[in-house]
């Protein structure tokens, strides 16, 4: 196990000159060189950019300047997030050599806060998947148990942090793609409210659902990264003007008396017994902390997967129309424009992406639009209503993150519907737009990590983080 760095630890070490930002970055590149061949967490390393930034931080230290909040912190960025001058593939052959001409706002903010970007992490192609087995560049292995998947789609970002190959990372979550890999790799992982973090520069999958959010080794570090990337950005009209509270300052307060809703529907059939036991033990931790537990009902939970796979694929089929071999990415030559489009897309996209484009185009096509797409949007409204009603009675919701522990590589690839069904506990919050975090909640047989999910009301990130931190401090990770 590598020495575990935290954001505070990095700041302390830089401030007291125990290590320079350059030495720290170099140390992380050594770790990556040792471990990445096995894990396949990183697709591209950005050494030049990392050392340039590290030297800037070392300059601040030498000049005795006040260090920015993430000074020298080595971070990794999911490869669906644009980085100027650094290859961004989306885990797809169609963007194998794509070099973005601009930075995503989240990346720009992290670097402005002093973070050192080490490289880009592997993921399911265009963030479509729950195991990172849909990457065109090979699967990622779970550092906790290397014959198993790290979850997905942000499997590389989760694995990099869990293996000590980055102190924090960014992932994206459309139906669970941050929270579920966080759960599988045994680290905290957060999706803020829809609109909390700018999507500018995030290569779109499903625009009404996509969100950028952090992975780290502690809830405090998750909060620190969230505080940096959150907030209004004029380049994303859906990023909100709601003020960003000091998330870290909100932590450490008493949680006694907070009302926790336990939705009955999240403990139904299909849930692994090992997961159930750990989540029950996790809930007991909240009880010990003096929280008030209430069983509640969320009547439309069982319809969330069907709704999600209509809306997400419909939006994806539209968003992915831009990959046409004209302006960037792969082109397969043909004698007519249409044939060029078709061959390019047929050759450039992988199996899951094509499946979703076909399904998404179908649910939007004439004759099926009302029956599928509009029906899905109506049920989405009912699911969002379930959440609003729940939050009129309780302060947060606590659920499992995934019904199953990390599964074996190849175990579920042959049956797409079964893979989709495992997203049941995460897609609900995605559809409703609320914030959610997954925090470690023990390991089955001491080896398979389980994640406990906390949902808060829209823009209630501070409350979610307060509870997650209290859970962690009370030993929740080792129940």
């Amino acid at each position: 196990m590598n020495a575990a760095w935290t954001i505070d630890g990095v700041r302390e070490a830089l401030g007291t000159k125990k290590i320079s930002a350059r030495e720290l970055a170099s140390d992380f590149y050594k770790r990556i060189a040792e471990r990445n061949q096995e894990l396949n967490a990183y697709l591209t390393l950005s050494e030049e950019r990392a050392y340039l930034q590290a030297d800037r931080i070392d300059g601040l230290v030498a000049a005795g300047k006040v260090l920015p909040p993430l000074a020298g912190v080595p971070i990794a960025i999911k490869d669906v997030i644009s980085t100027r001058g650094v290859r961004t593939t989306c885990g797809s052959k169609i963007l194998e050599n794509y070099i973005p001409p601009y930075d995503a706002t989240a990346v720009e903010r992290l670097e402005a806060a002093g973070a050192v970007m080490l490289g880009k992490t592997n993921c399911d192609e265009f963030a479509m998947g729950s195991s990172t087995e849909n990457s065109a560049y090979g699967p990622v292995r779970n550092p906790e148990s290397t014959d198993r998947v790290p979850g997905g789609s942000s499997g590389g970002s989760a694995a990099a942090v869990a293996a000590g190959l980055a102190v924090a990372s960014l992932g994206t979550d459309t139906g669970g793609s941050i929270r579920q890999p966080g759960s599988f790799c045994g680290i905290p992982a957060m999706m803020g409210s829809y609109g909390r973090v700018s999507r500018y520069g995030l290569i779109a999958f499903a625009s009404s659902l996509d969100r950028i959010g952090p992975f780290a080794t502690s809830t405090r570090d998750v909060a620190a990264v969230m505080g940096v990337i959150a907030g209004r950005d004029t380049n994303d009209s859906t990023s909100t003007t709601a003020p960003v509270p000091d998330y870290r300052a909100a932590m450490g307060k008493p949680v006694k008396g907070l009302r926790i809703g336990i939705p009955k529907e999240y403990f139904g059939a299909g849930m692994d017994e090992g997961v159930r036991k750990k989540i029950e033990a996790g809930i007991a931790v909240f009880e010990k902390l003096g929280c008030e537990l209430r069983e509640i009902h969320m009547a439309h939970t069982d319809y969330a997967i069907a709704t999600y796979y209509i809306i997400a694929t419909a939006e994806a089929s539209s968003n992915l129309a831009r990959y046409d071999g004209v302006r960037y990415g792969l082109r397969v030559e043909a004698d007519s424009l249409l044939a060029m489009y078709r061959k390019t897309r047929g050759a450039g996209f992988g199996a899951e992406v094509k499946r979703r484009i076909v399904l998404g185009t179908y649910v939007l096509s004439a004759g099926y639009y009302d029956a599928f797409y509009l029906k899905g949007q109506r049920v989405r409204a009912l699911i969002a209503q379930d959440f609003r009603e729940a939050f009129s009675k309780v302060d947060v919701l606590v659920t499992p993150t995934s019904p199953v522990p990390p599964f074996l590589l190849g175990e579920r690839t042959s049956d797409p519907l079964q893979m989709y069904l495992a997203d049941i506990y995460t897609v609900t919050g995605s559809l409703a737009g609320v914030p959610g975090i997954s925090v470690p909640c023990g390991k089955i047989c001491g080896k398979l990590p389980v994640g406990l999910q906390i949902f808060g009301p829209a823009f209630g990130e501070a409350r979610v983080l307060l509870l997650a931190d209290a859970f962690e401090q009370a030993g929740g990770a080792s129940v």
């Binding site: 001409p101 829809y194 997967i305 129309a321 960037y328 424009l337 179908y362 969002a384 989709y420």
Partner: protein, 100 residues
């Protein structure tokens, strides 16, 4: 059967996606199963429920937060063109579209 092979072919054409014979058959079977599952939404009466296209409250919606349409210098034309699979001067080149 909810979706035929012809449906999949038609949809793939709409999406400008070339699929092999094997892919057509695989997607037909898999999407048929997925549509069967999605059909469970019909158990719900959604009469009078407004379709929800996005989650933001009205005062935070994209329409309410549009910025001024100001010109901002963005000097990346060369970098953008650099990404083109085929180009000539400052144009993207594509196969001939109009027959003479």
């Amino acid at each position: 059967m909810r979706i035929s092979r012809e449906d999949v072919e038609k949809v793939a054409e709409l999406a400008n996606l070339e699929l092999s014979e094997a892919e057509l058959e695989m997607y037909r079977t898999q999407i048929d199963e997925i549509l069967e599952y999605i059909g469970k939404l019909n158990e719900l009466d959604t009469t009078g429920v407004e379709p929800m296209a996005q989650v933001l409250a009205d005062e935070e919606s994209a329409d309410a937060t549009l910025r001024e349409d100001d010109i901002v210098r963005c000097d990346v034309a060369a970098e953008i063109l650099e990404q083109a699979p085929d180009r000539e001067a400052s144009y993207f080149r594509v196969p001939k579209v109009i027959e003479r």
